[in-house]
Assembly symmetry: C2
Homo-oligomer: 213 residues x 2
DNA sequence: CGCAATATGTGAAATCCTTCACGAGTGAGC
DNA sequence: GCTCACTCGTGAAGGATTTCACATATTGCG
């Protein structure tokens, strides 16, 4: 049943919430709880689950352990996910050392840059020359890359990544990369998000209609 | 006319594309061009514009200059937008120095942290003690904050921000802050985005239905 | 100057997504 | 063990958003 991107996003959110609940000692959970935590309606939680055959019991809700196991199976994130970071500027290095990744079973295998002064193959997370990227991608069977290079070279580096066999890109460069022919792209444009925030504020303040007078 | 968040996001994207086009010397533009660049259908571009009374000419498309001016008016981003960064760890400092902000007329006024060793009020962008945050927010009339603190204190710091008068938060901490009572929150959960990327890849590979057998 | 090509603007249709509402089990309490 | 309040699962209804399709206007060109 065509699962859209939004559904996958929600499933992942459910899973994260469930893991927090489990660490707090929860054993069962109701659709209301998950709905609150994720910010959707209870009906939608149940609907999402039903699409994937996740079932609970009529008065006992869902078993937390069970649900996590099922979600992991569905989402396919049982093992550690390996990723590379391309572009080791400010954002790139910050991401390489980001602690949040460990908790989610994500491991940064290596960083890449063009600047020779940044290269350090002996660091805990090695930083290599961008020219080595294709070999590492192949030998390590890397599928996903975080792109954090300047705007001017972003498109070109993205193509190099795809050519090297990368199948998913998390793009922090301020250009809109398009998902095409079996390469999935997720764009995170920080400046754009901020701009939107300002706009939404503005709209929230003075009503939503600002068309012709 | 109830403008949803999605419409605002698209308008901002149009504006960004238009500015790139203008810098390339374009004078007029068609809905097709914008649609391609933003990844939507031409009809939607026209519909979005019509909602806000943005009009073009029947065979000449839209005037780039004109359109940008109108969008700026509608989106309310004529002047420089000022923002603070709370939490000057890896991500926080990277954001403080992020170049993409300058281009979008966003200025980071100050950073805040609890760690005394990080404080440096004389830096180009000063880093101050978090306790000074409420005063700076008030005196500088700051409305928007970027939140980049560890998970454990994120909720608490967010409350402090709201109490100090902040009206919009761009949240990089891995908890879901909820937009409530006239505070707009935009969550960017990097680990979650990566997880989603892996899942989408997985789904793209082996079809979308993975429910009961 | 008139025509034909082309792009806009918009009501109507279609599609997609969410919520509603209710039947049906089920666990807890007495 | 019986009852009852409670929660799931789901078809149908409802909304919202996007696309369609075409009348209409404009411009370039012969």
């Amino acid at each position: 049943m065509s699962a859209t991107k939004e559904v996958v996003v929600r499933l992942t959110k459910y899973k994260n919430v469930l893991e927090k609940l489990r660490s707090l000692g929860f054993v069962k959970v109701f659709s209301d709880n998950l709905a609150d935590a994720v910010g959707v309606s209870p009906a939608l939680v149940r609907k999402d689950f039903s699409v994937f055959g996740l079932t609970g019991k009529k008065r006992a809700g869902y078993q937390v352990d069970d649900l996590i196991a099922q979600l992991n199976r569905i989402l396919g994130v049982d093992e550690v996910q390996r990723v590379i970071v391309v572009g080791c500027g400010k954002i790139g290095t910050a991401l390489m050392r980001y602690r949040g990744f460990a908790r989610e079973r994500i491991r940064v295998v290596a960083g890449f840059d063009v600047d020779p002064s940044k290269i350090d193959p002996n660091a805990p997370i090695p930083i290599r020359d961008i020219n080595e990227m294709p070999y590492i991608v192949k030998s390590e069977k890397i599928q996903v890359a975080i792109l954090a290079v300047p705007e001017t070279v972003a498109a070109q580096v993205a193509e190099a990544l795809i050519a090297a066999g990368i199948r998913g890109i998390l793009n922090f460069a301020p250009i809109l990369l398009k998902s095409q022919n079996n390469v999935v792209v997720q764009n995170i444009n920080i400046a754009l998000e901020l701009e939107n925030l300002f706009c939404l504020l503005r709209f929230a303040e003075q009503g939503l209609d600002r068309g012709r007078p």
